[in-house]
Symmetry: C2
Amino acid sequence: MHPALSDHARPKRAVFFISDSTGITAETLGNALLANFPGFRFERHTIPFIDTAEAATAVVQTITAADAAGLAPIVFSTMKNAAVGRVLDTAPAPRIDLLGGHLTELEQTLGTTASEQLGQFHTVGDTEAYFARMRAVEYAIEHDDGQSSRALEFADVIIIAPSRCGKTPTTMYLALQYGLLVANYPLTDEDFPTDGLPRLVAPYADRCYGLTTTPLRLSQVRHERRPDSRYASLAQCTLELRRAEELYRRTRVPFLNSSTKSVEEMSAIILQTLKLRA
Amino acid sequence: MHPALSDHARPKRAVFFISDSTGITAETLGNALLANFPGFRFERHTIPFIDTAEAATAVVQTITAADAAGLAPIVFSTMKNAAVGRVLDTAPAPRIDLLGGHLTELEQTLGTTASEQLGQFHTVGDTEAYFARMRAVEYAIEHDDGQSSRALEFADVIIIAPSRCGKTPTTMYLALQYGLLVANYPLTDEDFPTDGLPRLVAPYADRCYGLTTTPLRLSQVRHERRPDSRYASLAQCTLELRRAEELYRRTRVPFLNSSTKSVEEMSAIILQTLKLRA
């Protein structure tokens, strides 16, 4: 496919992410695979909770309609029940089974048969894990932007950075995905006359993690919030980031540049650096 | 494996989730597969950001050490670069390649070769998507627990429920995973003398979604926050949930029971019901 081809000339195909659960994994892995084919345009549909043959039959009709419309459908599926998966194979579309084949591989490796009843993507009804997550999200809200010092000694991570470097989304992701207690603290002009970390977080230096970004990007993000302010000016952003990075280095706080990273990547790096992986 | 076998008698195997990116997908899919084998004990390790042959060689040593310790390792991998993946095959462990085989299937389906450069799990540096996520998380924090009515007309979803039914984690998940603007509003005793929805959210009834749970579980969660209070008593929880469910039915607000569902499942159901899927 020639990259200069206009968007409308590129073939458009219908893609179905079909799951007996939420569809999140089918979507994530399917999209990662599709990203390798930039020459195509895809029309994506996620269809979750397909856990009976009847539900699968209805999906087959949807896929058939897409085929009739000339969209040459492709199916990605994560179905734990092989019989339900096989219903999808009656649709006029190749199916990429993201789960079934690997289950067979794992059966061979472990020398035993999979127990159909127990395959759950997410631990449903696991009360302890649910409580941990709820507590973590509430802790993150309470400790967003240095709002509270209550129970700060229990923080697993304290993210520090100048305003608008990406502290909040990363905090929430760590709380939700890993159930960690995460606080974040904004570095302001007041934090810079001194040599050390801000007074509030200084006792927990070993749990601090810094963020930085590029001045241009920071200025862009700050203009969104306060257009044409000193706060958003390139000069001010350059100064704050330079001071923050100097502070991280001086206090030996590990840090990363958020400008080229997704929230998932930043979270994974923080976990790894602070050795918070199980 | 006999289920009555004591935990210590069950074989323990080392499982490695290895990725050139965050490892989240390898972990999620790998754990979904392992959940089908309840007769085994697994010692899980996630090793992200393995994107060079050198890094993979170091991982092979870690796997070899686990093998020497008698833990009969298993590897799950999501590597976009096949050559890096092949380095892992020199380890004394079967590798379940969650990506490579499917890439070949997709190449056959599309009749073209994958472009190695472009396979990214998460859209790195996608400024617009990043802004949307940041705005969504900030909106969710601002609108948690009915704290603000500012810009409530822009909410994609308003989750309503009595205190401690799981509004906050679900709100955050929808904001982070899908970039949706989500508010949540607590139903209190004051909301029940009237027939309709609370005044603040009534104009947006079509975007409201209700949560309920079981009285026993609600009482358990509330005891965590305020032990032995009227608020946490089974009688009070039963009453509040009955009133909330009556309100949802009367006002035709769709609702679900959070007691047996994960945050991911609730989010997927809400998306589907309110037709918020792309």
